[in-house]
Symmetry: C2
């Protein structure tokens, strides 16, 4: 069988490990330049990040991450089953910051680690969402919400305070919107 | 034992799957707000991306990726053993594009998927590298090199032609350098 991606041929497949949120796949492939390889990769659900601009300030969440320690991110998270990217973005923004409503616009999607996983992070710009109650998911009780003016957001990126690659890309993309 | 990251307590650990380039870890943890959880995550080597500005244009590589299809990226790849991020960046830039030398500057590092893996992508700006021979790694015979003026690079991001999150963040960061 020939894979749908141009140039790659898939000759075998196994799933050596799976747990709730991820599955490890091992494919036997022939590369576009003719080499036999085992390609091990990880499947996991798509994610979403939201650049919420409220009164001209960008909304960030700060949290202790198990793997990388304390960092700022734009609000977001993993899509639930049968949830569209925008539905997930609205849910996550509301849960983490209490903000809801506003004018939403897709800014496309990115692949954080295209050699390791095909998972995408969907990006949204939300203008003038309004304040409501914060309803954190279990395990997110340590979230702090910050509102940064654009220049302070860029300074936070330069100082290494925003580790999340999709958040950094989205901050720049949101501030570069015409 | 208490983990070094503030707030998280680790009570158990196993490594349910490992292959050459990745290892799956499963930790039993107590979250900062007191919940017992199994935290499954992936360890893999750090990566590097390079924004090479040559005669005012940004250098991109275009390639058929097994997992996400054809896309533009900034040159880069995975660190070899005992290789510093800058050494890896110089090696990858040279292998993929033939460019070497120039004035190099670190622009920090990002975490592409901070909830799934702690791996970092180290970012560099390389000004005025000079042309030499291209020596592709096995499996990279389909690489095409493009030089885009800054406005075309931003247009390529907006058109969704640059899927790689670290590449997008680094394009904006490089063009925003004072």
């Amino acid at each position: 069988m020939t894979d749908h991606r141009s140039g790659w041929i898939v000759t075998g497949h196994s799933e050596p490990y799976a747990v709730g949120r991820l599955m490890v796949h091992r494919d036997e492939v022939v590369t576009p330049d003719g080499l036999d390889r085992s390609y091990v990769w990880v499947a996991a659900r798509d994610q979403v990040r939201v650049a919420a601009l409220v009164e001209g300030k960008l909304v960030f969440v700060e949290q202790d991450h198990y793997l990388i320690g304390r960092t700022l991110q734009l609000p977001g998270g993993t899509l639930n089953e049968r949830e569209s990217p925008e539905e997930a973005g609205r849910r996550e923004l509301s849960e983490e910051t209490g903000l809801h409503g506003g004018v939403w616009q897709s800014l496309g999607h990115l692949c954080p680690l295209p050699g390791l996983t095909p998972l995408g992070v969907h990006l949204f710009l939300a203008i003038d969402a309004v304040t409501g109650p914060v309803v954190l998911e279990p395990g997110e009780g340590d979230i702090a919400v910050h509102r940064l003016p654009p220049l302070e957001a860029i300074e936070a990126i330069r100082a290494g305070r925003i580790a999340c690659a999709a958040s950094v890309a989205l901050v720049y993309a949101a501030l570069a919107q015409p």
